[in-house]
């Protein structure tokens, strides 16, 4: 905790003191999501690992048939991640109080790293809260996969002619747009997943923690992490025990990049003046154009030859 505070302090001091320009850029870094943005509260204490959410997602998004059927529990033997063939996966973590299951999918960040890293603007954060992706403009640089702090986007490497990013889109096209919950939420038999406005979900989450403080860790994962995420998690065991990264900090990923982006206008405006100035200072009186080596040298060579 101490280290993180120190880092944060350094970052803020650095940004404030280094450049006037970066201050301006900093101002836009506090977007907290659309007020009407939807989200899902995931209560890990209720999940039994039935994998019906995986099956529902597969059907809704018309993904390929999996190698291992959805009722096969053997997949829990290894930790999986979302791929082009599965937008959501459930992993099992053996804990002292029995297994804890964790569902993984896109967390639909308020300020998505994928969106800010994309140089063709393929990603959109919709006002409903979904992070969707336009495959028509994707060049395939896969920078979003590098940037995503949750390792969510998958890529259809198998396609030679039209490989694209594949990730959970909150069932935006078929459901969210019409105010309906995503397929995984609808099918969940244990009410692990609660769909609602993000702001309300945070209240519900804190309420549950307050009512049964012994049952939960006093933290909603995603409330503040990397600027806040649309999907929020409650857990009975420390989050880093069940595959969450506790070291991400609360700043959106783009804040890291702003220090560099802030220097761009500076370089663009100062360098030309500085270096043309150097040129004038270091080359006295000599007209330029006729003192260039390959000309000058060959000239003198010719003169030498004439002599």
């Amino acid at each position: 905790m101490k280290r993180r505070d120190f880092l944060k302090g350094c970052m803020i001091c650095g940004a404030a003191s280094s450049l006037g320009i970066s201050k301006k850029a900093w101002g836009s870094g506090s977007f907290e999501g659309y007020p009407e943005g939807m989200g899902v509260l995931v209560d890990l204490t209720r999940c039994i690992g039935c994998r019906s959410c995986e099956a529902a997602c597969n059907k809704e998004q018309q993904l390929p048939e999996p190698k291992v059927p959805f009722d096969d529990q053997s997949v829990f033997e290894e930790k999986r991640r979302p791929t082009e063939a599965a937008y959501t996966v459930v992993n099992r973590y053996e804990q002292s109080g029995g297994p804890v299951y964790r569902k993984v999918q896109c967390n639909h960040c308020n300020e998505p790293a994928c969106l800010t890293s994309c140089f063709v603007n393929a990603y959109t954060k919709t006002k409903e809260g979904a992070v969707v992706y336009n495959s028509k403009v994707c060049v395939g640089c896969r920078n979003c996969m590098i940037a995503c702090p949750f390792n969510v986007p998958g890529y259809s490497y198998s396609s030679a002619t039209n490989p694209v990013i594949k990730k959970c889109i909150f069932c935006y096209d078929t459901r969210l747009k019409y105010g309906k919950p995503p397929a995984c939420v609808e099918i969940c038999p244990q009410e692990v997943l609660t769909f609602g406005h993000r702001n309300d979900l945070i209240k519900i989450g804190h309420e549950r923690i307050r009512e049964t403080p012994d049952k939960y860790v006093d933290h909603i994962y995603g409330e503040k992490e990397v600027g806040g995420t649309g999907w929020l998690y409650l857990s009975s065991v420390p989050f880093d025990k069940v595959g969450f990264d506790n070291t991400l900090g609360n700043e959106p990923i783009i804040s890291n990049v702003k220090e560099f982006l802030g220097t761009v206008p500076m370089v663009l405006s100062i360098w030309p003046a500085l270096f043309t100035g150097f040129h004038l200072l270091s080359t006295r009186q000599k007209g330029h154009g006729d003192d260039h080596g390959h000309d000058a040298h060959s000239k003198s060579e010719q003169e030498g030859a004439k002599k």
Binding site: Y155, F278, H279, H292, H297
Partner: protein, 464 residues
Amino acid sequence: MKTFKAKGVEIVDSLYKDNGKKKWNLMEKLLLGLTPQQYIAQALRNPFNWLLAVIFAIGIPIILGRFIFGLGWVTHSSCDYPWGMFLGFGLFAMVPLSSSGFQLGTTCEVFGRHDFEPIERLGLLNGLLGYLFAVIYLLVDLGQPWRLPYPMVVSFGPAAVLFLVAWHVATYLSVQVAEVSVAFFEWIGFPMGKRGVRKITLGLTVAGIILSTLHQGALGALFTYAPGKVHPLWYSASFQWLHFFVSSLPGGLCMVIAVSTIARKTMAWRCGEEFKDNLDKLTIALAKGASMGLATYLTIKLIAMAHDNKWEYLATGWGQWYMFEIFFGVILPLGLFAYAIRNEKVGIIRFSAFLTVFGVVLNRVNTAMITFNWKLAEREIPHWREAVISVTIFAIYIVVYRFILYRLPILYLWKTADETVEATEGARVPKKAILEEEPVPVGTYRTREERIIPAASFSSLEKN
């Protein structure tokens, strides 16, 4: 080539052969003035060409296969390691080694240090080819390379660092083409073009500095998108772009030393007297520049470490690997440079330059691949086809590099360049004057009459 030169075969080094009597035609220029039989004979005699042939025989089909069967066929199609050798080595390592273009351009054109000119063109060419092949590596890696112009014309993501990289690399490539085109215009015999480019040299050079500063840095800034994935020893939010930019400075200079060493050894016949006579002196001068860069780099590496208080990581296995990189890539060459510059030991400087190049490449590969995702249990070893493609593209890079060095006046001076320039001027000025119906000074006509023969030769040149 040495044998041919010893036998008295004339090698193309000017527009005219037989002491200015006849012009070389394009085919003769391409064959360096040899007959086709001689050319093939010298190519077959070189064992390096046989090695290249083997690499191409295996590599080219695999490159084609990548476009037929997709990336999944040549890589491990990993979602955790989306960037493999093509970017980790090809893009991130080739670009810093190409910073020589803007550095030597600046030295000669901005600061007026014309004593660096014998090696300036090599620096520019090294820059151009490095960037070009970085882009070629990128084209192989992109999922849909035919969409590469999209960030320029179809859809803009101006907040992204990669957007800046794309624009700057594209602009800088054209700037470098213009800078190197001077040599091409001399070779092809188009003095107008040469003079045109000369007029905007200062502008091009300053543009080169701006674009280089920003995108060398931007490549580093790309990793600030992944603060949790790059190992803390290779990551620093505030210094990442400075680390990349500053290390590119010695990287580029040492690459020029390395290339000039190889060129001096393997193509001595093509090196002009100027280049040969000045090379040792210039190598020492470049090494001085590189030491400054290395010293700065080492300092900011340490400052960044102190700034984020990351000393504890040095005690881990990653820390040892980090110290290996810093010691062999920075501290050792720095020490060797200091000793060798003082005692004018050019051989040690050359060795040390290779070491620095290795250090810069290792740093980029470490950041992008080896220490990337250090928290994940599984490390990815690139697919063998990925390695083969990387080697093949590098071989193509060497072939193109050699092709240009053999022909264009990079390492030697183009002999009669000025004669042709004057001839054009003599012919063009009166023509223009007549067109504009202005009173023409008599002197101009006289000049034209005097130079009637070169003017005629110029018109035959246009046909060419």
